[in-house]
Structures are given as C-alpha cells and as structure tokens.
Symmetry: C2
Subunit: 129 residues, 2 copies
DNA sequence: TAATTGGTTAGCCATGAAGCTAACTATAGA
DNA sequence: TCTATAGTTAGCTTCATGGCTAACCAATTA
C-alpha cells in the first residue's frame, strides 16, 4: 500500500519546496534542533514538522531525539543520488552534442569535397560561404 | 494570481515525477515529437501533454509546432540551474566538513599539549577549560 | 472532398500536499 | 512539585496534481 515512490522521486519532490530547500541549506552549515530550524520561518511548528518529516523520509535529513530536543542533520549521502542523476543526463546530453558537432563537421567536409569536384558551374553557386 | 513559483521550485517539482524524468532523459538523446514522446507510456495523450506543459513552464523543455507536429527539445540551460544548486550545497557542506576536521585536529593537538603539561595528576580536574 | 493523423481543449474526479488550530506528552528547570 | 519548554498528534481546510474521457481543430493523404 505504501505507494513505493522511488528515492529520486522523493528527493526531488522534497527539494521542490523552498522551505525545505532552506532547511537543507541550513543543515549544510551544521546540525540544528527542530526549534532552531523553525525559527526563521513564519510558520506554525506542526507545519514545519511536516517538512522535516518529508525531508526525513526522502533520506535527505536524519534526526535523533535526546531528552526533549530533536537534533537534525543532513543524511550521509543526501544530495549524492540526485546530483548523480544530473551528471548522468549531462553526460548523455554532451555526448549527443559531440555527435551532433561531428555530424555537422562531416557534412561540411562532404560539401567541400563536392564543391572541389565540380569547380565550375554555369549558374550561381550558393554553397561557398 | 499566477502563484509565482521560483524557477528552482518548478524544475525540482518537474523532475519529481518519473514520467517527466523519462521525458527529459529521452530528450537528452535528441528532439522528438509529442507522439514519439508519448509512445513508451501507457497513458492517454492529454495526460502526457500536461507533463510536457509542466516541463515547458519549468524551462526544462522547449517545443515548436510545424505543420501538425510539435517537436520538443531540451531547453538550453535546462539542467544547469538545478545542478548548480547541488554544487553550491556540496561546496558549503564540504567546507563545513573541512572546518570540522580542522576543529577535531585542533582539539587533538590541545589535548596532547595538555597531556604533556601535566604528566601526573591524582584526581580528575574539571576546571581547566 | 473525405478520411486520417497528430495534437489540443474542456471538464471531471480522486488523491495528496501544505497550511492551520487545539490539545497532548514528556523533559528540564525553579 | 509546579511550570515552562520542545515537540508531537489529531483533525480540519484548501488547493494543486495526475489521471481520465469526450469532443474538437487543423494538416496530410487518399
């Protein structure tokens, strides 16, 4: 029943909210209690708690309670998975651009060769730019 | 009224859906028509169109119609913004780890120095901080 | 011109997300 | 022990999202 979202789904969904991104950014600078995290936001505590829970189920954040204060920190491989996805895509994208460039170069070479083969043509040639 | 979401919000939200990620991945390999994009999915066309629209308003995808076929391609700086965000966070995170390591090293040095200074002591001292 | 193809618009529905208040639990401090 | 602090749970509202069908253009093709 538990809707089985992929890790990546959850991470991106978590980061789609500015409040949650702010929390992550805050935690990049070091761990913090729920209260400290809530402080900069004009938002009821339970609302903020929900954000923290979202971050936690996505794996971006971990927390542990000691006494009455819960301390939050970034999950160990928090951002790695998502960042990896980008790198993958960029790699494919760039490979494609390379191939495209190669293709354009090939076209150009062929065109030049063709032009060399028939050096004189009665009407205007457009090709020689 | 147009809810003013930040670019980053929209990009991450767009990428939070597996269908949309698949579309982006497909477009990394080259442009495609709406029909070609829809093909691998078991989903009604209008539903898929909505996904494309989401991708388009996020800036991840661009499209243009010629005749009756609409061709989609990745937006020029599509993934850059989001990837940049990750790099930023990682930079802060790593700086913090460096600082933390430096701190631990400092503690260690101080401890050694202190140990050197009082080679023998009967009971535990609390006061020396 | 008629039929097909490729996409689009409109409108419906179910679910989930983001916020709130109010009331509650449990620890820490006076 | 009393009180204040820190967080939690429950339950409500509102709006956004993701999916559908049905009907509708507008280019192509026969």
């Amino acid at each position: 029943m538990a809707n089985q979202l992929s890790q990546l789904d959850q991470v991106f969904a978590a980061l789609a909210d500015p409040t949650r991104r702010a929390i992550v950014m805050r935690l990049c600078a070091g761990e913090a209690s729920v209260g400290e995290l809530a402080d900069p936001f004009d938002m009821a505590l339970p609302s903020l708690m929900k954000h923290i829970q979202v971050l936690e189920t996505s794996g971006l954040v971990q927390s542990e309670k000691s006494g009455r204060v819960r301390t939050c920190r970034l999950g160990p491989d928090a951002l790695v998975g998502a960042e990896y996805w980008f790198q993958q895509q960029r790699a494919i994208w760039e490979a494609r651009l390379d191939r495209f460039e190669a293709y354009v170069m090939k076209l150009k070479r062929e065109k030049e060769r063709a032009a060399a083969k028939r050096p004189s043509r009665t009407t205007k040639r457009k090709g020689s730019e």
